[in-house]
């Protein structure tokens, strides 16, 4: 048999396998809903912290309990692994906070919904590109549309903080059900094995 080996395709499939569980979408939805509280009242800075903890710490823990026992475990090379993702999330949160606080003073925070949606869309597009996941491409488009709708509302005179909060809740209202559907499908497709499938050396 003579054939070419598409390592990039194998890499995409391997990475996509861990996203089929819907946990990324689900926790992203919940995190955005929590984050929205900060935009209603800037004193609720804890909401940003809680959302970050949920996405960066709780999600991997849940994945250890739910996903790995069902589809197995794989560790990707550090350069393509968690460190850049964590850095991107931290940069996103810091950027978001600075943009909002400085913007409030400088009166350009009407751009907030668009800024937020562009950052989210770019992040999701990166994931979509690495995993060739149609769902992630659709989510990126959704984020951009929400940003355009948000900026139209802020230009119409609505408070940017309130608009951003509603934008996040609306996105959350879509992401959480999508994540739940993905998770349900995943749990049905991969029932938990009673014991680890051992390499045949018992």
């Amino acid at each position: 048999m003579i054939r070419r080996i598409d390592v990039k395709d194998i890499d995409r499939k391997a990475r996509r396998a861990f996203r089929e569980d819907g946990l990324d979408t689900l926790t992203c939805g919940v995190s955005l809903a929590i984050m929205a509280i900060f935009f209603v009242d800037i004193r609720h800075g804890w909401a940003l912290g809680l959302a970050t903890v949920l996405y960066t710490i709780v999600r991997p823990l849940v994945r250890d309990q739910v996903t790995h026992p069902r589809i197995g475990y794989a560790k990707f090379t550090p350069a393509k692994g968690k460190a850049p993702v964590v850095l991107a999330i931290v940069a996103f949160i810091v950027g978001l906070t600075l943009f909002y606080i400085i913007g409030k003073v400088a009166r350009y925070n009407w751009l907030m919904p668009l800024f937020l949606s562009v950052v989210l869309a770019v992040t999701v597009l990166l994931v979509a590109f690495r995993t060739a996941s149609a769902t992630h491409y659709a989510l990126a488009a959704l984020f951009l549309v929400s940003g355009l709708a948000g900026i139209a509302l802020t230009r119409a005179g609505y408070d940017p903080g309130d608009v951003t909060a509603y934008q996040l809740w609306c996105l959350s209202g879509i992401l959480v059900p999508v994540g739940l559907v993905q998770l349900t499908r995943f749990l049905r497709r991969y029932p938990r094995s009673a014991v680890e499938v051992n390499y045949g050396r018992q």
């Binding site: 048999m1 003579i2 054939r3 070419r4 080996i5 390592v7 194998i10 890499d11 499939k13 391997a14 396998a17 589809i71 197995g72 475990y73 794989a74 560790k75 990707f76 090379t77 550090p78 991969y190 094995s193 014991v195 680890e196 499938v197 051992n198 390499y199 045949g200 050396r201």
Partner: protein, 109 residues
């Protein structure tokens, strides 16, 4: 140069193909292990759709050839079989890809 000699020249890399790597199931296993730092047995079984016995048998051959390292460990008292591609295995896989690409590029339309 005669046609038959040219033909032989183009197909020479085929003779150098590593038969341990060339087997489709083992090639798939090496492909997956080449994109990860390490993976466990269950992950490979799900991705390659090989049966437990089949995967075990191929892994034994790859281990015997020194291409794959197999480690047993316990995670929360549950045994886990961790598989890693060795440097030798990575080189063999890369060499195989180069040889096959050469053969395919030289094949007449």
């Amino acid at each position: 140069m005669a046609d038959s000699e040219m033909h032989d020249e183009h197909l020479r890399p085929l003779a150098e193909i590593d038969r341990v790597v060339h087997e489709p199931a083992r090639l798939l296993i090496l492909g997956y292990l080449s994109v990860v730092e390490s993976a466990d047995f269950l992950f490979l079984m799900n991705q390659t759709h090989l049966t437990r016995g089949n995967l075990s048998s191929h892994l034994s051959k790859l281990e015997a050839a020194g291409y794959v390292e197999i480690k047993k460990e316990f995670v929360q008292k549950i045994p886990r079989t961790l598989l890693t591609l060795t440097e030798e295995g990575r080189n063999a896989f890369q060499q195989y890809r180069r040889s096959m690409a050469q053969v395919l590029d030289n094949l007449p339309e």
